[in-house]
């Protein structure tokens, strides 16, 4: 009896230690993001004076107004939306076109086809040979250079393939086949509807990848086609005001400087915000999906 009580107490104290420990970790991870959010609606001078550790100072949405008034940032924003939508559709379609056939054990040469795709996960041509092929196939300057050369996202394809194999009852597909349903019909009427949860994960993963990508656009596209992160390179990394920004501001250098600083914080929120809002919706699914992919990777 005494023993039980003692172990219960030590369990409670270790619970407390764990909670405190994880709370500190949460703070370390979340605080920089919170700080940027606070700073984006504060007066930039107050931010740099250290007056915005906890709450905004002189609340204003001027930074956001400036971000969307900046022509190059706004164009980048629209470009990013376009690339994300088209790229996501392309990627998810490609994943399914491969995952479904490879999930069918009766498919002749299934193993060889799997290896054919998996090899590309580990070996590649490298930067320049890939660049030259993209160039020779005439994709430079076309937005398709962002999607097509990436081919199939093999890691994600394996997750979907395993999901189809493990989560859709085999008997169901066999019964449909006996009833005379073709492979395409089974794919369309059965596999796609029944694999919606994992499809949601693939949609989010692809969206994140395209929304955040800038390197591919930097090497293959013109400046006018740049997506948001690439446009933000001028603001965030080179710390320079864009030309369109300088032209619209009349208050001289100090005012321009203030504007540049405000835009920095607001543009970070605009660039990072959308994906941070979306991922919690499919969090449970990707936790499951990663396991399925890992077991038979």
């Amino acid at each position: 009896m005494k023993d039980k009580k003692a172990s219960g107490l030590s369990d409670r104290s270790s619970d407390i230690i764990l909670v405190v420990l994880t709370a500190i970790i949460i703070f370390i991870v979340a605080y920089p993001l919170y700080y940027v959010l606070i700073a984006s609606v504060s007066n930039p001078y107050d931010v740099y004076a250290g007056m915005t550790f906890l709450l905004p100072s002189q609340f204003s949405m001027a930074g956001y107004a400036a971000v969307f008034a900046d022509k190059s940032i706004f164009t980048g924003f629209l470009n990013s939306i376009k690339y994300t939508v088209i790229g996501t559709v392309f990627s998810v379609v490609m994943i399914y076109l491969v995952a479904y056939p490879l999930s069918q054990h009766t498919l002749p040469f299934r193993k060889a086809l799997s290896i054919f795709f998996i090899i590309t996960m580990y070996f590649g041509g490298g930067l320049i040979p890939t660049y030259l092929v993209v160039k020779n196939t005439g994709l430079i300057g076309s937005m398709w250079s962002l999607f097509i050369p990436g081919g199939v996202a093999v890691g994600n394809m394996i997750i979907v393939r395993n999901y189809i194999e493990n989560s859709i009852p085999h008997e169901l597909m066999e019964a449909a086949e006996i009833d005379g349903a073709s492979h395409l019909r089974i794919f369309w009427d059965m596999v796609i509807p029944l694999s919606r949860p994992i499809m949601a994960v693939m949609v989010v993963f692809s969206m994140v990848a395209y929304w955040n990508d800038w390197f591919t656009a930097m090497i293959y596209l013109d400046a006018s086609q740049a997506p948001l992160p690439l446009v933000l390179r001028n603001v965030l990394i080179k710390s320079s005001a864009s030309a369109s920004q300088a032209a619209t501001i009349s208050g001289g250098y100090a005012e321009l400087n203030k504007m540049t600083e405000m835009i920095k914080f607001a543009s970070i929120v605009v660039a990072a915000g959308p994906m941070l809002i979306i991922y919690p919706f499919v969090q449970k699914q990707f936790e499951k999906g990663m396991m399925a992919g890992a077991v038979k990777g």
């Binding site: 172990s7 030590s10 369990d11 270790s14 619970d15 764990l18 909670v19 994880t22 970790i25 949460i26 370390i28 991870v29 979340a30 993001l33 931010v47 250290g50 490609m94 076109l97 491969v98 009766t106 498919l107 002749p108 086809l113 795709f117 590309t120 041509g125 490298g126 930067l127 320049i128 040979p129 890939t130 660049y131 030259l132 092929v133 196939t137 097509i148 081919g151 199939v152 073709s182 492979h183 395409l184 929304w211 955040n212 800038w214 090497i219 933000l232 390179r233 965030l236 914080f265 970070i268 990072a272 994906m275 991922y279 919690p280 969090q283 936790e287 499951k288 990663m290 396991m291 890992a294």
Partner: protein
Amino acid sequence: MSSKKQRGGAARLDSANQVSLARQLSDHWQLYLLLLIPVVITVIYKYIPMVGIQIAFRDYKASQGMFGSKFVGLYWFQRFFSSPNCVRMIRNTVLISLYSLLWSFPVPIILSLAINQLRFHRYKRVVQTVLYAPHFISTMVICGMIKIFLSPSGGLINLILGTKIDFLTMSEAFRTIYISTGIWQEAGWGTIIYLATLSSVDTSLYEAAKVDGASLFQRIMHIDVPALIPMAVLNLIMSAGSLMNVGFEKVWLLQTDLNKATSDVIAVYVYEQGIENAKYSYSTAVGLFNTVVNILLLVIVNKIASKASDVRFV
């Protein structure tokens, strides 16, 4: 052709139900139709570039193409090894990834051991959601945040320290910045795989250990840690195979003229020589050198790991 005959023959011997390969192929034509476009794209944009690596041994001229340019043997490799910054680049590449691996590798394991033992499910979920967040942010934005936080005038770190240090101009600070922010961004995401592994641990083991009077720490050390070891070893081997793959994006964005003594890495050089200077063959040769070292490391680590334990993954 011969495999077709063999399979067909085996099928006939096997049972009457089995059909010939030709029949099987025609039965599955719709599946091959689905595969057609992905296979074509993969051949063109993945396999042709692999073959194209041989321009590392040629003097590539656009007019003569990837397969017709003059063969120059190891000329580009010799040029790389005799370039003034060669040793510095190899050293920086190895050191950044080695320190990265040593510091980053244990963090997700420790985090997942702690998260797994949280008993309040709502809170556990919140912890996981917050820890995953930085993974979903673009490298560009992360580097922008790093620049802002480390700014000598009014950056968060300098405000807290009460100093005006320009960290990004200090070559001795570069690796610390690179690695600590990398842990901040990816450690949470790295817990997924370990948490998934821990979720398959039989909970009756915990109960049994509790009855025996094992403390939480003892339960973690004797039940959770052994369950994680195979996955951890696998991850370690995989990381060893990319030891020379320093992420180009982050280094390139955080590099300044003043921190180049530690931030000058092969990946950035490959980009500068290839894309900015259009020295295609030279850039490919340097990249190929990097890949070969990676493969060698992978083989060595795999040998050591399979000797040390009975696990072999690659």
